[in-house]
């Protein structure tokens, strides 16, 4: 009996997990969740931006991580465009797919009317993708308008009003990096954060968080968002429920299911009378 439970078909486990993740979408119980210090610090850094500040949103992820990271980016962009009018927002990417997400998010916010009154080139701009990974980051730090000669619209970035007075990376007031791999946090820290003293906030895929925590502990990253949960935390701090918040119940149910499976697996292992024979 114990052996049968332990050797249960993995597809049954998948099916149970699928049901446990889908159930709260139909009947959300609204389970509470706490907001951690990394997300609070990140939110505070963005909320403290003054009109005229230049914030760079770096989209460095692929569709494979979009369900995790895009809700974070959406929440940050909503915050900046709704509440932080006057802050100059530049989006760019060191991953080929990155700038597409910036555009998708912008269009979604545009459809909601969040971006009404904003002028392209003055309040925001999309610089697109640049190849070269860490080398390109170094170029951005040395001279942003030289690294990105033209934006996605084909305009010269040096001629855009949004870039007036920007000579080097040190003129960037805040870097918000949304990323799920390389180039990512370590590369930005090596080329822009430490040499030029640019404050950095990171929106990360959950799998990348453990590797980036040392940079947070060292103060090189002000704050970070941990996957979809990070998005939910940001939405809670901002006071607007979005895809992150609505996914939290599914998260909790999924975690409880996995914990239950871990417990069942251990109990059946230790109660299995054949265990000692195998030894």
């Amino acid at each position: 009996m114990m052996s049968k439970i332990r050797n249960i078909d993995r597809r049954i486990i998948y099916a149970i997990l699928l049901v446990s993740l889908a159930f709260p979408i139909f009947a959300p119980p609204g389970l509470p969740f706490a907001v951690g210090n990394p997300a609070r610090n990140a939110y505070a850094a963005i909320d403290a931006l003054e009109p005229g500040s230049l914030v760079v949103l770096s989209f460095d992820y692929a569709p494979t991580s979009a369900d995790e990271i895009n809700p974070q980016a959406m929440a940050v962009m909503r915050h900046l465009f709704e509440q932080k009018r006057g802050v100059r927002v530049v989006t760019l990417g060191f991953w080929p797919s990155g700038p597409i997400f910036a555009e998708i998010n912008f269009r979604a916010l545009e459809a909601e009317g969040v971006t009404d009154g904003l002028v392209y080139g003055e309040d925001y701009a999309n610089f697109g993708y640049i190849a070269g990974a860490e080398n390109a980051m170094a170029a951005l730090a040395t001279d942003p308008t030289d690294a990105f000669r033209r934006d996605r619209e084909g305009n010269r970035t040096a001629d855009l009003p949004i870039m007036q007075g920007v000579a080097t990376g040190s003129d960037i007031d805040l870097l918000v990096h949304f990323g799920s791999g390389t180039p990512g946090v370590p590369e930005y820290i090596r080329q822009l954060v430490d040499p030029y003293g640019v404050p950095m906030v990171a929106g990360l895929a959950a799998v990348s968080v453990a590797g980036s925590i040392p940079y947070y502990q060292a103060g090189q990253v002000i704050g970070y968002f941990n996957g979809l949960r990070g998005a939910a935390e940001y939405e809670q701090l901002y006071g607007v429920a979005g895809p992150g918040t609505s996914a939290m119940d599914s998260f909790s149910f999924g975690h409880l299911t996995i914990i239950a499976f871990v417990l069942i697996g251990n109990i059946t292992y230790f109660l299995d009378p054949d265990r000692k024979k195998r030894k």
Binding site: R11, Y14, L17, L18, L21, A22, I25, F26, A62, S65, A66, D67, E68, P96, S97, P99, I100, G128, Y129, I130, A131, E134, N135, A138, A147, F148, R149, R150, R152, G154, P186, I189, R190, Q191, V193, D194, P195, A205, A206, V207, V209, A210, G211, P214, Q217, A218, G219, Q220, N226, G227, L228, R229, P243, S246, A247, S250, F251, G254, H255, I258
Partner: protein, 199 residues
């Protein structure tokens, strides 16, 4: 048009999810389509990058110095020409040289000095104690060129192993959480955007 896109996305999502049941032609087809689209998209974005940072500056701004990296870039493809592969070594040498130079410059400050600084904390809280003690014991675990008769070294190495186990556990927990996020995203798409059975 949007409806067709949603149905297409649902078809692709279900195809990729079908791998949970087992390897099958539907999954294989979707996998190939995904890789093909990703490669094509990267090519288009790469071309846009080349236009903005090389072609336009050369033609419109007369920055002929940018011809050099373009030529070096073209030389990379010499590896596909039989007998001329050696030409690809020059751009590769430039790429590796610049890459290593930039990385090493930043690594010393960011990944070594600043990280060591962050470890040298006053031991006045449990957090700081754990950081200090954890770093020391993990370093002790990787100190191989010593005799195994010293109990201080031995026990601290064992403790360091447990510290690493906890770190790996946190890493795995976050990885599981990340995968679940992706699954939730797809389930929400199927139930809300495609089927419209939830809101």
């Amino acid at each position: 048009m949007e409806t067709i896109g949603t149905w297409l996305a649902a078809f692709c999502t279900l195809g990729l999810m079908s791998f949970a049941i087992g390897e099958n032609p539907w999954y294989r087809l979707m996998e190939h389509i995904y890789v093909g689209i990703a490669a094509a998209h990267s090519l288009v974005m790469g071309w846009e990058n080349l236009q903005n940072n090389a072609i336009y500056p050369i033609i419109e701004d007369g920055e002929f110095i940018k011809v050099i990296p373009v030529v070096l870039g073209i030389l990379l493809y010499a590896r596909f020409i039989k007998g001329q592969m050696w030409l690809a070594r020059f751009p590769m040498a430039v790429l590796v040289g610049i890459g290593v130079g930039l990385t090493v410059r930043g690594t010393i400050t960011s990944d070594i000095v600043n990280q060591i600084n962050a470890t040298l904390v006053p031991i006045n809280s449990i957090d700081n104690f754990l950081i200090f003690f954890g770093v020391l014991t993990v370093l002790m675990f990787f100190y191989f060129t010593r005799k195994d008769t010293n109990p201080v070294f031995n026990y601290s190495g064992i403790f360091g192993r447990y510290v690493m186990m906890i770190a790996f556990g946190a890493l795995f927990g976050n990885a599981a959480m990340g995968r679940m996020s992706l699954m939730i995203g797809r389930i929400r798409f199927l139930l809300i955007d495609w089927l419209g059975v939830a809101s």
